[in-house]
């Protein structure tokens, strides 16, 4: 597993397992079975585990959403009581934001960034594994609260002082705050890891402006995470100290200003919005060119508008607070910046449309999801512009109009983008193609369901139905057939249509897994480097690290321009390119070795936080485990030592690049 030795005439990699013992424990050596997953440091396996975890929490958050819509289908709903409803909407948002969209993006980034830049792994493979386990344990930790006295009930924005120990006496918010801290470490380490990877490990010739657009957008996201996560970390520490150690950061009686929390939360929270949606922008910017048979229109504009969103995204946080009493000057400034950020977002919509313009469009399921994203995200973007008009926002904020807006942006944006990516990359990840026919049903049910669910919420909000109310009353629903009762019912019906659409995806996954048919090497006639290897890729990704000459390198190896017509004609097939690679395969590839320590160290952290809530003795035990794991980690070389190799690497690309 650790070192792959191959001779030019031998086409099957020979795996040499290190025999020496280093560090506190013997290295894990299994290449199969559950150990191959639990102790892996392989970016692809970790990517898949991130994806599976995110999908699990997507279902959890989805069930929470369905319960909410059941409760609101009719006036004075009795499905949930007030307490449970408040927990439900808090956890729905928390789960979807922190445990579904962020990990799913992290999973795709983990899997595809090294492949897209022609690298054999990420810069810090063990830290990568640590990040995954922390995310999983953090997610489980937050959800433990359901069984230990009740989940957090303050809304995902957790405004002070309502989040204080007096107003929320259960342990729900303690679990929430510590759980998000744990997941936050995962985001932070992941961000550092991927930034270092992208900056240092690109294939020869791949300048930043020849980098695939998905990798670009994910890189912007990692920078946003790098600067945004510390802010929420600070805020969560203040909250935990207030709740668990009697600090008074948000205690008005002690002179605190509760708006402090809002500023901290939204300085994190608004960049977070772009953290959630830019990955989908990246996916769509990959899928549209492939199925339009044209390069991304205005690649530099898309790159720079992504970066611009990344920068301006830091200057708009107070538009979440237009009703909180900031004063007219602040409101005017944040109104202006919010309008400004609409411009680079609009640039993306224009570029996607112009990418398709003059193309040769093939409507695969992935393409349908991408086109769906353009239309639905535009709806969400335009309703977003209406919020930037601050006086108008004081009517709309905290109503269902906002709920409609951000679900068009996040469901129409992030989720449709992910599903586009699933259908596009499934053959790459699993060597099999998802059923396209079922995919069509999956797409249409999701799009129709989402419009039925979130479309009426525009009306509900503009006609005055506030958010976060466990019941609504007929007294405020208006008269006539199209009153708020009608639209609430439609939204609830729509949510179940949407759920059926997502269920079809899960069925598709099962059907595909059982179908023995393998995917062709290059099923979509793709353009970027991740397709220039087998499906799924070998552990070392590339037999030979490609030298890059073009944006869309793989496409330009397959096609050249006809000088007369300027159309493209094929000069090589993917199979030929692969065969060429295998002939020139690197002889000696040195991959990072698996390790016990990431999961042990990650496992110690929730024990500590559990102890913070219930008993400091437990926290001490967790601390001892953590220290033990950290020492074990420090004493273990990241790769098996040179002495295990029979001869020194002649082309030791991986050894040089895969780090410490």
């Amino acid at each position: 597993m650790a070192i792959i030795e191959r001779e030019t005439e031998v086409m099957v990699p020979v795996t040499v397992t290190p025999t020496s013992t280093y560090g506190v424990l013997k290295r894990p050596v299994s290449a199969t079975g559950w150990r191959a997953w639990v102790f892996t440091v392989d970016h692809k396996k970790l990517g898949l585990m991130y994806g599976a975890t995110a999908m699990f929490f997507f279902i959890v958050g989805g069930v929470e959403a369905l319960l909410i819509r059941l409760q609101l289908a009719a006036p004075n709903g009795k499905v949930l009581n007030a307490d449970l409803y408040n927990q439900m909407f808090t956890m729905h948002a928390t789960t979807m934001v922190f445990l579904f969209v962020m990990p799913m993006a992290a999973g795709l980034a983990n899997y595809f960034i090294p492949l897209q830049i022609g690298a054999r792994d990420v810069a810090f493979p063990r830290i990568n594994a640590l990040g995954f386990w922390l995310l999983l344990f953090g997610g489980i930790f937050i959800n433990l609260s359901w069984f230990l006295g009740g989940a957090a009930d303050g809304g995902w924005f957790m405004y002070a002082p309502n989040s204080g120990p007096v107003f929320s006496p259960t342990n729900g918010i303690d679990f929430w705050a510590f759980g998000l801290q744990i997941a936050g470490i995962a985001s932070l380490t992941g961000a550092i890891n991927l930034i270092v990877t992208v900056l240092n490990m690109r294939a020869p010739g791949m300048t930043l402006m020849k980098m695939p657009i998905f990798t670009w957008m994910m890189t912007v996201v990692q920078f946003l995470l790098l600067f945004a996560v510390p802010v929420i970390t600070v805020a969560l520490f203040l909250l935990s100290f207030q709740r668990n150690f009697g600090a008074r950061f948000f205690d008005v009686a002690a002179g605190a200003d509760p708006l402090l929390w809002q500023h901290l939360f939204w300085i994190f929270g608004h960049p977070e919005v772009y953290i959630l949606v830019l990955p989908a922008f990246g996916i769509v910017s990959e899928v549209l060119p492939v199925f339009s048979r044209k390069p991304l229109f205005g690649y530099p504009f898309v790159v720079f508008s992504g970066a611009a969103i990344g920068f301006v995204g830091w200057g708009v946080w107070a538009h979440h607070m237009f009703a909180s009493g900031l004063g007219p000057v602040s409101v005017a400034v944040f109104s202006l910046t919010t309008m400004a950020i609409a411009v680079p977002t609009g640039v993306k919509i224009i570029n996607w449309t112009l990418t398709m313009w003059g193309g040769k469009l093939y409507f695969s399921t992935a393409m349908k999801f991408s086109i769906g994203l353009i239309v639905l995200f535009t709806v969400g973007g335009l309703s977003g512009v209406t919020h930037s008009v601050a006086p108008s926002d004081t009517q709309q904020t905290d109503t269902y109009y906002i709920v409609a807006h951000f679900h068009y942006v996040l469901f129409g944006g992030a989720v449709l983008g992910f599903f586009s990516g699933f259908y596009y990359w499934w053959p790459k990840m699993f060597g099999k193609m998802l059923n396209e026919k079922l995919g069509g049903w999956n797409f249409w049910l999701m799009v129709i369901g989402m419009n039925l669910t979130f479309g009426p919420m525009h009306i509900l909000g503009l006609q005055g139905q506030p958010r976060r109310m466990y019941q609504w009353t007929e007294a405020r629903a208006g008269e006539g057939f199209f009153n708020l009762a009608f639209w609430n019912l439609i939204a609830s019906i729509g949510s179940f249509v949407l759920a059926v659409g997502i269920l079809l995806f899960l069925i598709n996954v099962v059907i595909t897994a059982r179908n023995p048919t393998k995917s062709p090497l290059d099923p979509w006639n793709s353009r970027s480097l991740e397709w220039m290897t087998s499906n799924p890729p070998k552990e070392h990704n590339f037999d030979v690290i490609p030298t890059v000459h073009h944006l869309d390198e793989f496409f330009h190896r397959k096609y050249e321009e006809d000088s007369a017509t300027h159309t493209m004609r094929q000069i090589a097939t993917a199979e030929e390119i692969m065969a060429e690679q295998e002939r020139n395969a690197d002889k000696h590839i040195h991959m990072p070795s698996p390790s016990y320590w990431p999961i042990v160290l990650a496992g110690a952290v929730p024990i500590i936080t559990f102890g913070m809530i219930f008993s400091h003795l437990i926290a001490v035990i967790g601390g001892v485990i953590l220290l033990f794991a950290a020492f074990g980690w420090a004493l273990e070389p990241s790769t098996a030592p040179e002495s295990d190799f029979e001869n020194n690497s002649s082309q030791g690309t991986a050894l040089d690049k895969v780090g410490h």
Partner: protein
């Protein structure tokens, strides 16, 4: 599936895709039309944000309508462009096109156009922001305090309106028409938000801060509102109404609020109710002028029993139409509809009539006195009071007998 196989299937596939695509756009268009229809024809939703009834809300509406229109047009342009592209450039077996990477001039133009549109919007937005923040033209001040889960109104003495001593009320905000009212908002516990959509946007009531909101009504009327900042368990049950009265009617309302306490008739059921009130309710609820049996004034001490420190002042309870954070009607359904559906020029008289015995919503009021937390979720269960040192966050269960409830109802009816 290789390239040529795919091509053979392509036409039928693309055709079917496009068939459904066109259906999709029919659908989206249908939903959009239905939206416009529903939003356009007023359903009399009491909290409709597109039906301003005062100059402040009008400023917002005049600003937002063109923005909605422009956004709608841009949305339509994008949708039409996508539909056009999808139909025009579907794969009909054409050659793979030239690999053009964009046209910078076009890009820059298409970046500048939205920026210019937004710049125009920004100019008008700025104007509205500063108009809505003005406080120097205020004619009347009302202090508004949010508390889990009701609103208290405190009218400081303002002689020009006949308010010689502060008036304390709750649930329904009463104000004169054509008068620039400035709310000074704060909160006693968590953040709440005051919102009467027909009169203005929202303003949060933040503990430790005093923030202002302009309100002005063009004509007499009843305007519904709702707390819109999530404020805990019964956030959904924290409602309010604003009642705009003609200046003459407002003067009558002020006079009534300042009228002296009238003790119930001797040996009446109401008088027994007063005794129950003194025994139980006065621990939290103030009734101005109420005397104890020994002749000393009965002063409520809500701070000893309620975590947030106050409970609604009930001195003129029956001059209001609602109770318990405007969650329940004091008026029976029929009487309520008469007030709410009255023409603007009759609303004042109907509202000032208050709640008579015939019009009282006995059912809800009795249920409330019987077991308040069963009607409105509040942290009133003794097991939930450890964090607050035994204090309630709403009206608790008082274990009153049915007899006591009848007496109390009779007494409350005298609080005109």
């Amino acid at each position: 599936m290789n390239h040529s196989q795919r091509h053979s299937n392509l036409k039928t596939r693309v055709a079917s895709v496009l068939l459904v695509t066109s259906k999709k756009y029919q659908k989206i268009f249908g939903v959009a039309m239905a939206t416009m229809f529903a939003a356009g024809c007023a359903q009399n939703a009491p909290q409709d944000t597109w039906q301003p009834k005062g100059p402040n809300a009008k400023i917002i509406d005049d600003l937002q309508q063109p923005v909605f229109a422009v956004a709608g047009i841009i949305g339509l342009i994008v949708a039409v462009a996508i539909i056009y592209v999808v139909f025009k450039y579907k794969d009909r077996g054409q050659a793979i096109p030239e690999q053009t990477h964009g046209k910078p001039a076009l890009e820059i133009t298409l970046t500048i156009i939205p920026a210019l549109i937004l710049a125009v919007v920004a100019v008008f937005t700025f104007g509205a922001i500063f108009k809505l923040a003005k406080t120097d033209d205020t004619e009347m001040i009302i202090n508004v305090t949010g508390q889990q889960w009701w609103w208290e109104y405190d009218y400081p003495a303002q002689n020009e309106f006949g308010i010689n001593q502060p008036i304390i009320s709750s649930g329904q905000l009463v104000m004169p028409v054509g008068t620039k009212v400035l709310l000074r908002e704060t909160s006693r516990d968590v953040i709440h938000s005051y919102w009467i959509p027909a009169l203005n946007g929202k303003r949060d009531a933040v503990p430790g801060r005093v923030q202002t909101l302009r309100l002005e009504a063009d004509a007499p009327g009843l305007f519904a509102g709702q707390c819109t900042e999530f404020c805990g368990l019964s956030h959904a049950n924290m409602r309010m109404e604003a009642i705009a009265l003609s200046k003459a009617d407002f003067a009558k309302w002020v006079a009534n609020q300042q009228a002296a306490y009238v003790a119930p008739a001797k040996d009446s059921l109401a008088q027994q109710g007063e005794a129950v009130f003194l025994n139980q309710c006065v621990r939290c609820h103030q009734v101005n002028g109420l005397l104890r049996a020994d002749g000393t004034p009965a002063i409520a001490a809500p701070d000893e029993n309620v975590w947030s420190g106050a409970a609604p002042n009930l001195t003129h309870l029956m001059s209001r139409n609602t109770f318990a954070g405007a969650t329940f009607d004091l008026l029976s359904k029929q009487c309520r509809d008469e007030v709410w559906n009255a023409p603007s020029d009759e609303i004042g008289a109907k509202y000032l009539a208050g709640v008579t015995e015939d019009c009282l919503n006995q059912k809800d009021l009795r249920a409330w006195l019987r077991n308040a937390p069963a009607m409105k979720p509040m942290y009133a269960n003794p097991t939930q009071l450890t964090a607050t040192g035994g204090k309630y966050r709403g009206m608790p269960y008082l274990a009153l007998s049915e007899d006591d409830i009848s007496k109390l109802v009779a007494y409350l009816l005298t609080l005109k």
